[in-house]
Symmetry: C2
Subunit: 338 residues, 2 copies
DNA sequence: GCTGGCACTCGGGTGGAGCGAGTGCCAAAC
DNA sequence: GTTTGGCACTCGCTCCACCCGAGTGCCAGC
């Protein structure tokens, strides 16, 4: 177990390194922090911290920088979450309230988050399966062509074209629409399969294939394709990465384009509270020098999706965590209102 | 007017520079191209080309690189559009045909374009005003709360929440829905204002404010906010920019985040055929070292939106133009089918 | 108008010297 | 046992001098 002072030294190293972006030495530490001991003592402490793997030196005769393990300890034990100032809070609220629809909410959120944290922001669209159905609409576009529109309580609207196996009359259509809605409106999308299971049986034999097709579209196709959609912003902030940004930016940009990877990353973020993944804790190779701060958000008490930021491991964790948490809260509020 | 051979020299310079990314000298030129004259002659031609502003040298004792003006001449007079190979065409078609809805079409298009050109792809969503209305849906969510859903022939689905000035009965709602649809379905969105102008008058006095609100939402809010939406992809390709990419990438990424700027850029692309904007021809400051190749696409003969790529001025123009044109065509086909 | 020759320019790469921040270790002091 | 001052050592960084070679412009001759 590390002594109190050694933890303090680690905290100081992290703070200084985040601020200056340069390896920090023993002398500089005593000058910038009131540690009450001499550089020589700090050197001893640093040697211990290095042996334990919390810090490292890029090369002999250079100062120390925190390792992933060091940041981990810092985040877990040494740093709190810095709350935002109240002007910042007001700005967030004002900015988000101007949104006109879900796309707009997500778009504004991602810009906001990128601007607040000066990092890359990632916002997942509210999950369909975790949302509640508000309405299902069926429109006849041609004799054997339907359009299915699904609207959820989080404001998501999804649609699909359906080619029916047989022509489908207006009466049957209205019938299906009414029955479908009466069963699923107000229910969670995850329950829909169970609720509509026996629906085809109650139709004329000739219409059953079409009804089945519609249900199949609703359940499979729609969910699979749209479940996981996300928006990214603030990539220009990647240029703030540090002096070695030209080397790092390529793999990060590539990773960001792979939405599947990102979604997995966000998905791994534990349900309750905020998750911070530091450096090599991120499975993806392109992101081993980045940290991901993510949190769930939702219109009610349950999270319907995640949002977060991707930045250099050398980031201001307390500030970033504060911003992420605050934005998630306000987005939840906005969704609940709409 | 430049002689035939001097044009040939310019073409050779552009091609070599695009390929090698290094200033090209007179000797190298004669070696790689059968110009039939000696380096000394080429030097004279180069001196003329430089005087006319088509090429420049980064510093004395270096080879020449094309200027924006040089690229302009190359694109206008010297280069054709390189058609894609038929495997490429097939790949495009296969890839795009898997799309399930408009978001998916646009998403796939942007990925496709980025991959084909190895540059940054930009795809604008089909414009609402230039589309045709397929259906308008009105749903009652609460006594004085409506949801308006608009569906167009290009597959766009937009929705808005409406807070009514007064409660609105189911009967009136059905009435409004029916009348609205009978007037606007199959018409171009641009004509809708004219078509619904007198609609409020035919309702009971108490319902008129609500009807007006609905129409106002349909016309103003919805169009303004959603007219100009776009998707960007392939930003990782910016790292291919050249040796000075660390300097250039920042402003470019920033410009790409300003969708307004991009839309203006695309919008300026002349209607018929492809537009190529080279370097300083782009008004935006961050894009002065990039070229933009854009073209309109649409489900019919008329363009409903634009798509294109952003890359270094030092790009393979014939290949890029070929890819952009081909993708635009196939997207048009897909939209027409859906 | 084209060509070969020639002097000149200048960016980039190489290698050594000096500097300074930072370290590790040790003996003495607290 | 912990802390401290002292001291030798390491090593990355910068500066500078140097050379090399690609490329140019110019000129006289074909």
């Amino acid at each position: 177990m590390l002594s109190e002072r050694r933890l303090e030294v680690l905290r100081a190293i992290v703070q200084d390194y985040v601020g200056t972006e340069e390896p920090v030495g023993s002398k500089a530490l005593t000058e910038r922090h009131r540690l009450g001991v001499s550089p020589a003592t700090i050197r001893n402490d640093m040697a211990v911290l290095e042996e334990e793997g919390y810090i490292a030196q890029p090369h002999t005769s250079a100062g120390r920088i925190p390792t992933d393990k060091g940041y981990r300890l810092f985040v877990d034990k040494l740093a709190g979450v810095k709350p935002l100032s109240s002007p910042e809070r007001r700005a967030i609220q004002n900015f988000l309230e101007g949104a006109v629809d879900l796309d707009d909410v997500v778009g504004r959120t991602v810009r906001l988050l990128a601007q607040l944290t000066r990092q890359v922001a990632v916002v997942q669209y509210p999950s369909l399966t975790r949302s509640t159905v508000r309405h299902v609409e069926l429109l006849s576009l041609a004799p054997a062509r339907l359009m299915l529109v699904l609207i959820t309580d989080t404001g998501r609207v999804e649609q699909r074209m359906i080619d029916c196996p047989a022509p489908f009359g207006e009466v049957a259509l209205a019938d299906l629409r009414a029955r479908l809605n009466s069963r699923v409106v107000g229910r969670r999308f995850a329950d829909v399969p169970r609720l509509v299971q026996d629906l085809p049986e109650s139709f004329e034999a000739e219409d059953r294939p079409t009804v089945s097709t519609v249900l199949a579209t609703l359940l499979e196709n729609l969910v699979e394709e749209t479940e996981e959609r996300l928006l990214i912003g603030g990539t220009a902030n990647l240029t703030r990465f540090g002096h070695d940004f030209p080397m790092m930016i390529r793999p990060v940009l590539e990773a960001l384009e792979e939405h599947v990877v990102l979604l997995k990353l966000l998905g791994e973020a534990g349900q309750p509270g905020m998750t911070v993944r530091i450096g090599h804790e991120n499975a993806h190779e392109g992101l081993t020098s980045t940290s991901v701060v993510a949190v769930g958000y939702g219109s009610g008490d349950e999270a319907v999706a995640k949002l977060g930021v991707v930045g250099p491991t050398r980031m201001d964790y307390p500030g970033t965590m504060g911003a992420v948490r605050a934005v998630a809260r306000y987005v939840g509020q906005i969704l609940a209102e709409s």
